[in-house]
């Protein structure tokens, strides 16, 4: 294990390389580019024995890793924003065909208007594909979640794709120190992929065939059942991860100062560092505030979320995405997880940080003060009413 100061994208590329992927395909798009450029360099310079396939679009990148995975090799791709949307139909196929593709989403906003900065609308909009989704708070977690994702994806009880989500620019372009494990450590945690079925011209089978109404429902049931099964496996693998790497990695949720907390703020990804700072300052002032990080968003860990939030009075959920006409997707799921439980806290969903708008300690402190007086459910954090006037006046 060595500690290095490197860019988040490079850290992820090194983590992926340690997972020994055999086929990589990607189409460059900001802010994902540095990850795949680094992997392409590693392949070109002979440091990584993999096939790197240049393609003409994200749809092709996803299709290529689908096909490669079906032949029984470990594969990798990465994208963001419009690229994730273009992959969408292929991602459903990858999950439905039970292929353990692992990919990175360098989270970025969706057009229109065009915006290269961070939010999580891209990964959230493919949440229903059947992929697992994990959200990283920092670059160490971004690395660690890749070992974790491959291990889970390739387990024969699972055989589903996984997406590791890391906030674009905030993490991908940040230089900070990370622990890089040895190849031997990663090999212990992540043994070679043993496919159940492979596409082989010598022994042909069909994958992704037509399923008529008498079988389709059951096939979809099985994808969902396998995805839900990971709720049991994730804590087990997190334990194994700690044994091999000597630090925490993976998991469903993580609480921060939840003990006796009356108000809990829930979030995913890099915003958690701002939440920790906000909570620490509030605690100094004697306010009983805590934070909950959702690491695993798919499958959604309803029981773990309900357990963590059950004793709070008030829950504030930050969504860096919106289901137009409904509200924040994470807030909706937190509400559902708590629904019908006796003494359940009041849950307010906030849309925050879209398109790179920073979520600051100051704005969260204003939110905490507001939540004392009224229910802020459905509000947009730091919404500037003057901008709407400018655009439509």
């Amino acid at each position: 294990m060595t500690r290095k100061l490197i860019e988040g994208s490079r850290a992820v590329a090194e983590a992926v390389a340690l997972c020994r992927p055999q086929v990589i395909s990607a189409y460059p798009i900001t802010p994902q580019t540095h990850i795949v450029a680094e992997l392409a360099d590693m392949v070109a310079e002979g440091h990584l024995r993999a096939e790197f396939v240049n393609v003409e679009s994200e749809h092709s990148a996803a299709s290529l890793v689908l096909g490669a995975s079906a032949t029984g090799v470990r594969v990798y791709t990465a994208s963001t924003s419009q690229g994730i949307l273009l992959m969408n139909e292929v991602l459903y196929n990858i999950a439905g065909m039970r292929l353990p593709v692992v990919m990175t989403c360098a989270n970025r906003a969706i057009s229109a208007p065009i915006n290269i900065w961070n939010d999580q609308q891209d990964s959230i909009s493919v949440r229903d594909t059947g992929m697992m989704q994990f959200y990283a708070e920092n670059n160490q977690e971004a690395m660690d979640l890749h070992y974790f994702a491959y291990r889970l994806a390739e387990d024969h009880r699972v055989l589903l794709p996984a997406m590791v989500c890391m906030d674009g620019f905030i993490l991908t372009h940040a230089y900070e120190s990370v622990e890089v494990p040895t190849q031997a450590q990663v090999d212990v945690f992540l043994p070679p992929y043993q496919p159940l079925y492979v596409l082989d011209p010598a022994d042909p089978i069909t994958m992704g065939t037509l399923a008529e109404p008498d079988k389709y429902l059951e096939t979809r049931y099985m994808v969902n059942a396998a995805l839900e099964k990971t709720l049991d496996l994730i804590p087990t693998f997190a334990g194994e991860f700690a044994a091999v790497f000597g630090r925490r990695g993976g998991g469903l949720v993580e609480g921060y100062r939840l003990q006796d907390a009356e108000t809990v703020i829930v979030g995913m990804g890099s915003v958690m560092s701002t939440l920790r700072e906000t909570v620490a300052a509030a605690r100094e002032r004697g306010q009983r505030v805590g934070a909950l990080k959702v690491i695993t968003y798919r499958p959604f860990p309803k029981a773990a979320v309900a357990r963590a939030l059950g004793r709070a009075k008030r829950v504030l959920v930050l969504d860096k995405a919106i289901s137009m006409g409904s509200g924040g997707p994470l807030a909706t799921e937190v509400k559902a997880a708590l629904y019908g439980r006796r003494g359940a806290p009041r849950v307010a969903g906030l849309i925050a940080g879209l398109g790179g708008r920073e979520i600051t300690v100051e704005s969260l402190e204003r939110l905490l003060a507001l939540a004392e007086k009224e229910n802020p459910d459905g509000r947009f954090l730091d919404l500037r009413t003057d901008v709407e006037m400018e655009i439509y006046a």
């Binding site: 860019e7 372009h173 940040a174 230089y175 900070e176 560092s273």
Partner: protein, 189 residues
């Protein structure tokens, strides 16, 4: 925690400067975080790079709004931006220019401004005036004492192996000495 904000244009190497500073401080056994904020992601567009240095792990990832130090890599940005915005009391602004703070019309309100001809140093030693980033780091080391000249030179040699690293290490030293001399004899500057 020490917070630094760099004002530059995309393509001038401000991210590299931020990364080199973070690497040097990391090599000294401290914690560092460096990250950029782009405008429209085009060569020449105004952008910022940020660095945080601390003896403890760094949590905060938001942009630096209350810097201890500001580095202005491109003085043309002085016209469109208030580079002193949020500067903490006793904060220092380092500007890449041949002019004096007085000539720039800066520092009237008591803000500490240090000017250094980083582009001229870069032109002389690297043959390119738009590679002022390393010289500015030398000026920062001299002005702040937050990092040693040697650690920065090591970081530069690691990033640019061979002759380029050596010349950048010289640019660092030249600007470092320039600021040290200026701080010894502030009147003459």
């Amino acid at each position: 925690m020490i917070e630094i904000r760099i004002h530059a244009r995309a393509g001038q190497g401000a991210i590299t400067a931020a990364m080199l500073l973070a690497s040097a401080v990391f090599a000294e056994g401290k914690w560092a975080l460096a990250f950029p904020h782009f405008g429209s992601e085009r060569m020449g567009a105004p952008m910022n790079a940020f660095v945080r240095l601390s003896n403890k792990p760094i949590q905060r990832r938001t942009q630096v709004r209350e810097p201890n130090y500001v580095i202005v890599q491109d003085p043309t940005l002085l016209a469109g931006f208030n580079v002193a915005e949020g500067l903490r009391p006793n904060g220092v602004i380092i500007v890449n220019t041949d002019k004096t703070p007085k000539e720039l019309g800066l520092g009237k309100n008591g803000t500490r401004i240090l000017t250094v001809p980083a582009s001229r140093i870069a032109q002389e030693l690297l043959g390119r005036a738009d590679r002022a980033n390393t010289a500015l780091l030398g000026a920062f080391a001299a002005a702040s004492g937050e990092v040693s000249l040697g650690s920065l030179q090591d970081a530069v040699r690691e990033r640019f192996p061979g002759a380029a690293g050596e010349r950048n290490a010289q640019a660092l030293a030249r600007a470092y000495e320039f600021i040290k001399a200026k701080m010894k004899h502030p009147k003459e500057a």
